[in-house]
């Protein structure tokens, strides 16, 4: 932000435009206010008392917010600061019960705050609040310590649930529509709402144990008055390492997890990349046991996936 010239060299430069007569003035004051809101709350759930350059937040607030006979400028701004953090933390708390169970409430809340401070919402909907969480944990693995691998698996799984819940469904292709097609040329699309995951832990079973409540998202226009109420979370045993392949999908608008074999996972992943059916099958069976009746298995898989409506027209 361009700063106005200080009138008195002993005083810090103004951060807020004294008047708002242009779009630039408006943008400057909005940047200033948002900057205050995006600073994490202190340990007492209050607004920080220092601005980023060390000056008193009270002085910054007084530049643009009027006090009244009951509240200082700082206190009025703080109402918004608290409301912002309570809202986003509350949303994050509800969206990541699995990660909470892995990390414990305290570590989870610290992680949530650090994540949201680094990546404030970049979307008009709170649905996308956790979209960069996997990247954040990869960039700052020390925040989850020894549980890094499990935490990453759970975060990927919980994001897959977000996608499965309200992701796009295209018109499904029926298996009859594929009859006669040349498998060496046939490319199949897969529904955008499905995510195929190769995990180091059986996170699907873990999530079933953790999550028992409905998680329909909703946004509203009311003010938030408190931090997320940390409900008692039953202790769920953390899973042991076990290579797991799973599709997170929906059927009749309900979320489901479907276990996949390593071969079927490879096949579906290849199809999603646009590999034709012949080559995808070849990739899937590379290194597979030669004694199995793979032709029969593949036929059953395709019938099953088709009946679930997973296939759609392929689009680059």
């Amino acid at each position: 932000m361009k700063l106005s010239k200080p009138r008195n060299s002993s005083k810090a430069t103004r951060l807020s435009p004294p008047e708002i007569k242009s779009l630039k003035d408006l943008r400057d004051v909005q940047r200033l206010m948002a900057g205050a809101l995006f600073m994490p709350l202190n340990a007492q759930d209050g607004m920080q008392t220092r601005w980023t350059d060390g000056r008193r937040m009270a002085d910054v607030a007084e530049e643009f917010i009027k006090p009244n006979d009951r509240l200082t400028s700082f206190e009025r701004l703080e109402i918004y600061s608290r409301s912002y953090w309570f809202r986003v933390l509350d949303c994050f708390y509800d969206d990541y019960p699995g990660l909470r169970a892995v990390l414990g409430q305290r570590t989870f809340m610290k992680l949530a705050e650090a994540y949201l401070a680094k990546y404030p919402s970049a979307s008009f909907t709170l649905r996308n609040l956790g979209s960069r969480l996997e990247k954040f944990i990869r960039d700052e693995p020390e925040r989850v310590g020894r549980k890094l691998d499990l935490a990453l698996d759970v975060v990927r799984f919980e994001w897959a649930q977000v996608v499965a819940f309200d992701g796009l469904a295209k018109s499904p292709l029926h298996i009859d529509e594929l009859l006669g097609a040349d498998p060496g040329k046939l490319q199949l699309g897969l529904q955008p709402y499905i995510t195929f995951l190769a995990l180091d832990f059986p996170v699907d079973d873990f999530m079933l144990a953790v999550k028992k409540h409905d998680a329909l998202r909703s946004e509203a226009s009311n003010a938030k008055t408190s931090a997320p109420k940390t409900t008692h979370q039953k202790n769920v045993a953390l899973p042991k390492r076990e290579k797991t392949f799973v599709a997170v999908h929906r059927h009749d608008c309900a979320l489901y997890y479907k276990r996949l074999t390593p071969e079927s996972y490879k096949l579906l992943s290849a199809l999603r990349k646009g590999v034709n059916v012949n080559d995808a099958c070849a990739r899937a069976l590379r290194g597979a046991s030669p004694s199995a009746d793979w032709a029969a298995k593949i036929k059953t898989w395709f019938q099953n996936w088709s009946s679930l409506g997973w296939f759609c027209k392929f689009e680059k």
Binding site: A34, S73, S121, D166, L216, N222, A254
Partner: protein, 282 residues
């Protein structure tokens, strides 16, 4: 105004907000409700359960869209993706009008998900009105702009909130969603007379009214939508109806949401005020 250009010449009565805890009750019991207000953002998704529920509701009920993140007052340009999704939803719901707030909430592509107050100046009014026009022209339905509850005021403001709202509405040639509870909350927080506000907005532009409950704290009031409507707000509502005529009215209840019947019965308390006033000709 029961039927005016800003609510697309409709004559809606008392509605309530469509909220998740009531889905099952509504879909199974099919209670008689004049109309539901939906939060647009909850349904601006690509598929899945939210749209399935919405489609079932639309088979039975009239729906009006209410947004929480268009941010007419943000300095940044409108978000094209947001607009496209909003328009797709408008086509789906056939909402006769839509509303969003006279506020800002995003800057440099970062969202606060809050309804932040505006500095009330002529330059800001002009900018805000331009954005409202852009939205209306894009979605092709009338737009009503809602006054928000606020907890802070700017030194830079050079007019009252009702003067600002009036100027924005006139310049944008848009409707007003008059939130009576928000006026009360802001009046208490900023020490003005709420009836000055009610008396001085352009009543012919009011296309819809909101009522809600709020929470009192020691030094301020918060717009929490978690209580029944309080008596002073009902009194203001009666006055608003006297000024505006019988107007589509909606009760907001967003936190600690009680049973459907409790919310609906609270909303229906508005009936006595509406029935005592004949529609005012547009």
């Amino acid at each position: 105004m029961p039927a005016n250009p800003f609510n697309n010449f409709t004559d809606y009565g008392i509605g309530i907000g469509l909220r998740v805890p009531h889905y099952r009750h509504i879909l199974e019991k099919k209670p008689v409700v004049d109309w539901f207000e939906i939060i647009s953002e909850n349904f601006m998704v690509d598929g899945g359960r939210p749209l399935e529920v919405l489609d079932k509701i639309l088979e039975q009920y009239r729906v009006v869209q209410h947004g929480v993140s268009m941010y007419f007052g943000s300095a940044e340009k409108l978000n094209r993706e947001h607009l496209k999704r909003l328009k797709a939803l408008v086509k789906r719901t056939n909402t006769p009008w839509l509303s969003d707030h006279l506020c800002w909430g995003s800057v440099d592509g970062r969202y606060t998900h809050d309804l932040l107050p505006m500095p009330y100046t002529h330059a800001v009014a002009k900018h805000t009105a331009q954005k409202i026009r852009q939205v209306r022209d894009f979605v092709e339905v009338p737009v009503c702009v809602e006054n928000v509850s606020s907890y802070a005021e700017f030194h830079a403001s050079d007019m009252t909130e009702w003067e600002f709202l009036s100027e924005v509405a006139e310049q944008a040639d848009c409707g007003i969603l008059l939130d009576v509870n928000n006026i009360y909350v802001s009046a208490k927080n900023h020490s003005f007379n709420p009836y000055d506000y009610l008396n001085n907005v352009p009543h012919s532009r009011v296309g819809q009214i909101h009522i809600a409950g709020h929470s009192k704290f020691k030094k301020y009031i918060l717009d929490t939508h978690d209580h029944p409507v309080l008596d002073p707000v009902w009194k203001m509502y009666a006055h608003a109806i006297k000024l505006c005529g019988r107007t589509a009215t909606l009760l907001e209840w967003d936190d600690r949401i009680p049973t459907f019947d409790e919310v609906h019965n609270e909303a229906l308390k508005a009936t006595k005020f509406l029935e005592s006033h004949a529609p005012v000709a547009a």
